[in-house]
């Protein structure tokens, strides 16, 4: 590390102060239930994550992800059933293909693709969910705040005006 001791301390202090903002789209049947199980099993994980329940990972529109970054997310997670176990037979396959294509376009949009994660967490994997959140929170912290969309702060409020009312 090239940091001096003082800089390092400052960084650490900032890091402990700043908490990343992670938006997670969880499918209702597997990952949401897995997160629920994590809670019921009293697994701990950072509070940095905000869960939005969707019926299926295939319901996640790439626009949701862009909107999340626009609204201040530092990282977005989409999690569904394991491939082959989709409650809706094939929704997670649609999600996998579509969002992989979306990830390829993220650089073009000015977003570090590492800020977008996909995972498969089943309803029985409370422990995996907790470990996953710990891991991506750590990664989000190391990536630092997402500052790619300063425009939305300037108050032109294109989407905010439409959606917030």
């Amino acid at each position: 590390m090239s940091h001096t001791a003082t800089e390092h301390d400052a960084t650490t202090a900032a890091a402990t102060e700043w908490k990343p903002n992670i938006v997670a789209f969880l499918c209702n049947w597997c990952s949401y239930a897995g997160a629920d199980l994590a809670g019921m099993s009293r697994f701990g994980y950072p509070a940095a994550i905000r869960i939005i329940r969707v019926p299926c990972s295939g319901r996640v529109d790439p626009m949701f992800i862009l909107k999340s970054f626009e609204r201040g997310a530092d990282m977005v997670l989409v999690s569904g059933c394991h491939p082959g176990d989709c409650h809706y037979t094939s929704g997670n396959f649609h999600a996998r293909r579509k969002l992989q294509a979306f990830r390829e376009l993220m650089g073009f949009l000015g977003i570090d693709p590492r800020r977008f994660k996909m995972s498969w967490v089943s309803a029985a994997e409370g422990g995996k969910w907790s470990a996953l959140v710990n891991e991506i929170t750590e990664e989000a912290r190391s990536l630092g705040p997402f500052t790619g969309y300063p425009s939305c702060e300037n108050g032109n409020g294109r989407t905010t005006g439409e959606q917030g009312d």
């Binding site: 900032a14 102060e17 700043w18 908490k19 903002n21 938006v23 049947w29 597997c30 239930a33 629920d36 199980l37 019921m40 905000r50 939005i52 969707v54 019926p55 299926c56 295939g58 319901r59 996640v60 529109d61 949701f64 909107k67 999340s68 609204r71 201040g72 997310a73 059933c81 082959g84 176990d85 989709c86 409650h87 809706y88 037979t89 094939s90 929704g91 649609h94 579509k98 089943s122 309803a123 029985a124 994997e125 705040p145 997402f146 500052t147 969309y149 300063p150 939305c152 702060e153 108050g155 409020g157 989407t159 905010t160 005006g161 959606q163 917030g164």
Partner: protein
């Protein structure tokens, strides 16, 4: 129809039936030795003689072979008949005095051997294949082999007093298929088919008794099977292997056996499915230290259960597989593969039922071997359940079972005993027990193939393959797929009371679903905005349920204005794949509409109230530093 008189009673029989059949109809007892209904009659032993007194040529005839004729008058127990039978039996008895079947009949007819057996009747047969001296030369075995089974592996050999049953040229037969029909049909129990066969006879091990005894190819799989009917194991059945035999079909009085029947796929439309696929046991041979599979006296709990069962291979007598003696010292090892992740194949979960069945086995053991001593190695005694702890206490106090808290490091043979080396963590010492039998309690696993089934039914399962309930507290028997319910060990290891409770719950839930004339369902399904849909039907291929179809919009004159997508409310499950695919955003999933989800996204910022301007928070300008 043929009408005849027997012992003064009129009887009618079918064409081709014999006097013996007529006697059976009347309930008249006629002794037989060489008769079996699976084999065409031969009239060889002549103990079934009856006397024709009228309606035909008078004289003594064998009832088993003599065809019924109109107008015959038969006496089945005349003096001549009794004399003839007595003489026949006397002669047979002289030849084979130790045959039980003969002794019983001889007693009834007052027959005595007419001469003492001057020499061993089968002395000449020594060294070659043959049958025991109980043989009365009725020839049933020869006839069944030639006429019913087919290979003709047995025959008569020799003449006069040297006559006997053997194989051609007294060589071990290579055509013998080892079916055992000769031994089965022999009226005197004189035959061991292994004597004839040049190759080892394949015994079919009885799966239900864990291979500790054998079964026939046609068998009832286990007592109280549902349906409690025999099935034919086609891989081993002689009829299916060679085309011969067919004895079961000949013998079945109900005519229920049909070799032409084939497996068929029956399609049923059902309203609910209950998955109760049960469990299987971990194969404990993955733990080499216990010696399962190497030492016959190391058995699993299921094998022990069969051994002590009254309907088991030993009819409930507990015997060591190695030497057939009752084990005076027995060691039960619990948690074989349960609560254990160190070894590949070990399972982290508790198999739940082993503590209680091991306690039960200790009691059963003491019932079978009164002076025996049982040792039980355990990790923890998990006896949570109504009266369970009391049960375990009773095993300790009344049955003097020694519970040792600790694990076993090694089981190895010394002499005819098995030395069990283990730790007793309560006393802090090592123990070494010279056991005569070791019973392992392997971990419970979900049944093989349950993952495929779960994927077909679209229900979840955990990393071990146990099926997942929809909610551990609120929906314990439902799955995430509507109409599919769980019961028993397919869901998790559980004992019988828990399984019955869960199965009852699943049955109630299923009935609650299918007894209503109308189905209520979640309203969270897709709807199409017909005003904006441009009918591209990109949504159609992504729908896994085929719920999307075209709908024509016409004006009042019936002119077609547009063809738009339409979602069938009954088929749609509300996954939302179509909503994402729709380029004109004309499909919304109710409850998960775009505006609802955007509202959620908009609310995510740590300090982002839903107002037109964003707060000057941390976003963008790095002010968080």
């Amino acid at each position: 129809m043929i009408s005849l008189t027997m012992d003064g009673r009129q009887v009618e029989v079918q064409d081709g039936q014999t006097l013996l059949d007529a006697a059976k109809l009347l309930g008249i007892e006629i002794p037989t030795l060489c008769h079996h209904k699976a084999v065409p009659p031969a009239g060889a032993c002549r103990v079934c003689v009856v006397e024709i007194t009228g309606g035909g040529r008078p004289g003594l005839v064998p009832a088993c072979a003599y065809p019924a004729q109109n107008g015959l008058v038969i006496d089945t127990h005349s003096k001549a008949v009794r004399n003839s039978r007595r003489l026949t039996l006397s002669l047979l008895l002289s030849r084979s005095p130790e045959t039980e079947a003969l002794q019983a009949l001889a007693k009834e007819y007052g027959a005595e051997p007419v001469f003492a057996a001057t020499r061993e009747p089968h002395a000449e047969a020594q060294g070659g294949p043959g049958v025991s001296s109980k043989c009365i030369l009725c020839g049933l075995c020869v006839r069944v082999c030639a006429e019913v089974i087919g290979p003709s592996a047995t025959c008569f050999a020799g003449r006069g007093r040297g006559r006997e049953i053997s194989t051609p040229y007294k060589q071990l037969s290579h055509v013998c298929i080892g079916c055992g029909a000769c031994a089965f049909i022999c009226p005197t129990g004189a035959i061991d088919p292994a004597e004839f066969c040049s190759h080892p006879i394949e015994q079919i091990s009885n799966e239900f008794n864990c291979g500790y005894d054998v079964r026939t190819p046609i068998h009832i799989p286990f007592p109280q099977a549902v349906p409690n009917k025999p099935l034919i194991d086609r891989d081993n059945c002689i009829h299916f292997k060679t085309g011969g035999c067919g004895a079961c079909k000949t013998l079945c009085p109900a005519g229920a056996i049909d070799y032409e029947m084939a497996d068929e796929i029956v399609e049923e439309k059902v309203g609910a499915v209950i998955v109760a696929t049960g469990y299987q046991l971990l194969d404990p041979s993955i733990y080499e230290e216990y010696g399962y599979g190497r030492y016959p006296d190391v058995v699993t709990s299921l094998e022990f259960e069969r051994m002590v069962s009254a309907s088991g291979p030993t009819e409930g007598e507990l015997r060591r597989p190695s030497n057939g003696q009752p084990p005076k010292t027995i060691v039960f090892l619990q948690c074989i593969g349960s609560r254990e992740e160190q070894t590949a194949g070990g399972k982290p979960y508790c198999s739940k039922i082993c503590c209680m069945y091991t306690a039960k086995h200790a009691i059963l053991y003491k019932h079978k071997v009164h002076d025996g001593q049982a040792f039980i190695f355990y990790m923890d005694i998990r006896s949570a359940g109504k009266n369970y702890e009391e049960f375990v206490r009773r095993v300790v106090k009344e049955k003097n079972a020694t519970y040792l808290r600790g694990r076993v490091s090694k089981v190895f043979p010394r002499g005819d005993k098995l030395i069990v080396m283990g730790a007793d963590t309560l006393s802090g010492g090592q123990v070494e027990i010279a056991a005569e039998m070791v019973v392992l309690a392997p971990a419970l696993l979900p049944s093989a193939g349950v993952r495929d089934l779960a994927q077909k039914l679209r229900i979840g399962y955990d990393q071990h393959g146990f099926l997942s309930e929809a909610h551990p507290k609120l929906k314990p028997v439902e799955t995430n797929t509507a109409g599919v319910f769980l019961a028993g060990c397919a869901h998790s290891p559980k004992d019988i009371p828990d399984t019955v409770a869960q199965a009852s719950a699943a049955a109630s839930k299923a009935l609650g679903l299918i007894t209503h004339s109308r189905l209520t369902r979640e309203p969270t399904i897709g709807i199409v905005n017909q005003a904006t849909c441009n009918g591209c039907f990109e949504c159609q291929p992504v729908c896994a349920y085929g719920a999307i179809g075209p709908r024509e919009i016409r004006d009042r004159r019936g002119n077609l204005l547009a063809t738009v997508a339409h979602i069938n409310e009954g088929l749609c499950q509300g996954c939302g794949a179509c909503a994402v695919t729709c380029r004109s955003k004309s499909i919304e999933v109710q409850g998960f509409r775009d505006d609802q989800l955007y509202a959620e996204i908009n609310a995510i910022g740590p300090s982002a109230p839903l107002v037109a301007t964003l707060p000057s928070g941390r976003n963008g300008n790095g002010s968080e530093k």
